[in-house]
Amino acid sequence: MSSNRGAAVRFESVQKSYDGETLVVKNLNLDIARGEFLTMLGPSGSGKTTCLMMLAGFEPATHGEIFLNDHPINNVPPHKRGIGMVFQNYALFPHMTVAENLAFPLQVRGMDKSEQERRIKRALEMVELGAFGSRRPAQLSGGQQQRVAVARALVFDPELVLMDEPLGALDKQLREQMQYEIKHIHESLGVTVVYVTHDQTEALTMSDRVAVFNDGVIQQLSPPEALYEEPQNSFVAQFIGENNKLSGEVAALNGKQCMVRLDDGSELLADAVNVGGVGSRTTISLRPERIEVVPTDQQENQVEGLVEELIYLGDHIRVRMKVAGNDEFIVKVRNRGQRWDLQEGQMRKIGWSAKDCKALDAVS
């Protein structure tokens, strides 16, 4: 695997089992570039945190090897890995002041006093907590604790920082603000960040690349746009953003496009992303905001649907329709002041482009 040389982190055929019966992580191969912000995204129990713990050294890999700057680290204890880590509940030492917390990694490295103070000052200023050095963690708000945790993970200049759902305990507004701050710190310091979360907004906002985990396997590893625009399978399409599913059967396959016959008999043209041959089952994935309630001629797919429910949301109107037997079919209509004459109980023709709907693997 010489082509992968130079990666900051490399997982090579890593497997992990806790009980010797089931694999929590199944054959993970992942390269993380120097300076990259990579997010591991997935539902709980998908194996993302386990991967992070293996990287930090708190869980041994059952099989395979993890490399840090091309050095295998399976037998390196956590304290010698030199990886900064931000924990879910911050894990700030409650019996030490903020400054003492920050001094801890410097003291165990035997750094002299003046250098310690210089770095603590710099780190606290970076997170805009310059005046809080003598406080105890319990005297800080959640957001401030979060910043101290970030500062502590960075104060000893690690090349790699791991973050385990660091914003999970904050309220929504603070969480959004911290996302930008972490993003800016990452950009200005150029450290490699591996970030674990189950919140897709967080993942899309901050990351260079996102690894979507499910069932111990990376389902897709892409930049945020690709994740949303070009999901590789039904799980990713469903997990990231809002998504309409229509199941059917491949009727014709023509290079990158295919004709899908839905269960009610109507036929749709879709991008063939992840389908078998003609006759195999498939699920069509379609974003609600790509559907027009007044279709134009350029839109290859036009179907009839029954308007079941209208929900007024200010900037857009959510229309729940029954299309091809699926009564959870959502259409988002942007509120531009036009009156589309939408009414509940109305049969209506809707349409979308073939490139906006993806034929993916079948889900039951």
Partner: protein, 426 residues
């Protein structure tokens, strides 16, 4: 509407907030809360009464006994009155009036059979008094004047200056005699002095009780800390099973456990036999592990260990493993992570466990009695002796009061050093 005019700030013009009916808000609130308070008080009333009757009152009574001295005045009131005019330091015996009063008292005391009790009481002040009173008995009641010669004729100790000094000294209704005795001091004609070296016992016993309690607390800590750590960090299912093993001693009688140590530790016991059999020691040099301090320390450490483990465990349970992980990720090795991050957070548990074990140990009675021999007994054994054998309750009460004061003093010192709010049981 309300008749009081309201200013713009919402406060009425007279500065008193009022409820809708015009009563001041504070009084209105107090009335509303009174029912609540009364209810809470009624809820704790049964327990309060129980504790007052069975705990507070006996302790108060016991503490009072350590200074109470009504017996002399009750038994020989006329003598006490007559002795008031006698100067104990004059070097002369009291005059005939005192002896006459004493005779009258003695006749009455003999009739009521209280004269031996008085002798016993005075014996605490000066050995020999008990015998003197018993010996005088019926003969003293048959005396004719002059009484002075009569008494001296019965026993020449009645003519000794010391005898009367003791009686006069013991006359006041309150005495510090028990407390002096409890710290190995006595009041002589020359003031308060320490007892002769070979008669001192209590100060040494107090010191030994403190010392052994500290040793037992420390050994409980050393043995209990790793166990508590293990219990707090194992998966719940495993730790529950192990917790039963920790609690098992609680379900076994204290006497059984102490006796078990007797079987194990004695010279012909299991441990010595095993050591001899292995060949570590030879038959002539079997270890003495019981009826001495070693026995007391071993048995009491075993008995008090759960009291150390439980508070430690409950505190450790609350220390998230992510702290140690954080420390390690920051570059600390296992020891540094433990010592600088885990240990300081477990200190409240150590404080709670140590206080609990120490206070239990300092007042322990039955185990030292059974396995302590003479070199391993505690001050409480001596208190028990005075309560049940020598019947010197005053001295027992004084010893108990000192022990209580000592524990409170240590508690205070501990509060100043560690801080009592730094103690938690989970």
């Amino acid at each position: 509407m309300s008749s009081t005019t309201t200013t713009q700030t919402g406060l009425p013009s007279d500065g008193v907030m009022r409820a809708a009916d015009g009563t001041p808000l504070k009084r209105s609130l107090a009335r509303a809360l009174r029912r609540e308070k009364l209810r809470s008080f009624l809820l704790i009333l049964p327990l309060l009464a129980f504790i007052t009757i069975t705990f507070i009152a006996p302790i108060a009574d016991m503490l009072f006994r350590s200074v109470e001295n009504g017996m002399v005045e009750e038994t020989i009131p006329r003598t006490v009155e007559a002795l008031k005019s006698w100067d104990a330091t004059s070097g002369e015996l009291p005059d005939e009036a005192v002896f006459e009063a004493f005779h009258a008292d003695f006749v009455e005391a003999f009739k009521n059979k209280t004269h031996t009790r008085l002798g016993l009481r005075l014996n605490y002040e000066q050995p020999g008094m008990s015998g003197l009173f018993r010996k005088s008995g019926r003969r003293a009641t048959n005396l004719e004047p002059p009484y002075k010669e009569g008494f001296i004729d019965i026993d020449e100790d009645w003519g000794a200056l010391e005898t009367w000094q003791v009686i006069k000294r013991a006359s006041p209704p309150l005495t510090d005699g028990y407390f002096l005795a409890a710290v190995d001091a006595e009041r002589t004609a020359d003031g308060i002095q320490m007892k002769p070296e070979k008669e001192r016992i209590y100060l040494f016993l107090f010191w030994r009780t403190l010392f052994l309690s500290i040793v037992i607390t420390l050994s409980c800590l050393v043995l209990g800390y790793p166990i508590a750590y293990l219990l707090a960090n194992l998966p719940l299912r495993t730790s529950n099973v192990l917790m039963i093993l920790v609690l098992l001693p609680f379900w076994t009688s204290l006497l059984v456990r102490t006796s078990a140590w007797k079987v194990l530790l004695q010279q012909q016991g299991v441990i010595n036999d095993t050591l001899v059999w292995i060949g570590l020691i030879d038959d002539a040099h079997r270890l003495t592990m019981i009826n001495n301090q070693t026995g007391t320390i071993i048995a009491m450490t075993h008995i008090l260990l759960p009291f150390m483990i439980l508070p430690l465990f409950s505190v450790m349970k609350t220390i998230s493993p992510s702290y140690v992980r954080a420390a390690k990720s920051l570059g600390a090795n296992d020891w540094t992570a433990f010592w600088r991050v885990y240990f300081p957070q477990s200190v409240p548990g150590i404080g709670a466990g140590a206080i609990l074990v120490f206070i239990l140990a300092i007042g322990y009675y039955i185990t030292p009695e059974l396995v302590g021999g003479t070199s391993g007994i505690f001050i409480s054994n001596r208190i028990a002796y005075h309560i049940s054998t020598s019947l010197n309750w005053g001295l027992a009460a004084a010893l108990g009061a000192i022990l209580l004061g000592l524990v409170m003093l240590l508690f205070y010192v501990y509060d100043r050093i560690v801080g009592i709010d730094n103690v938690k049981l989970g």
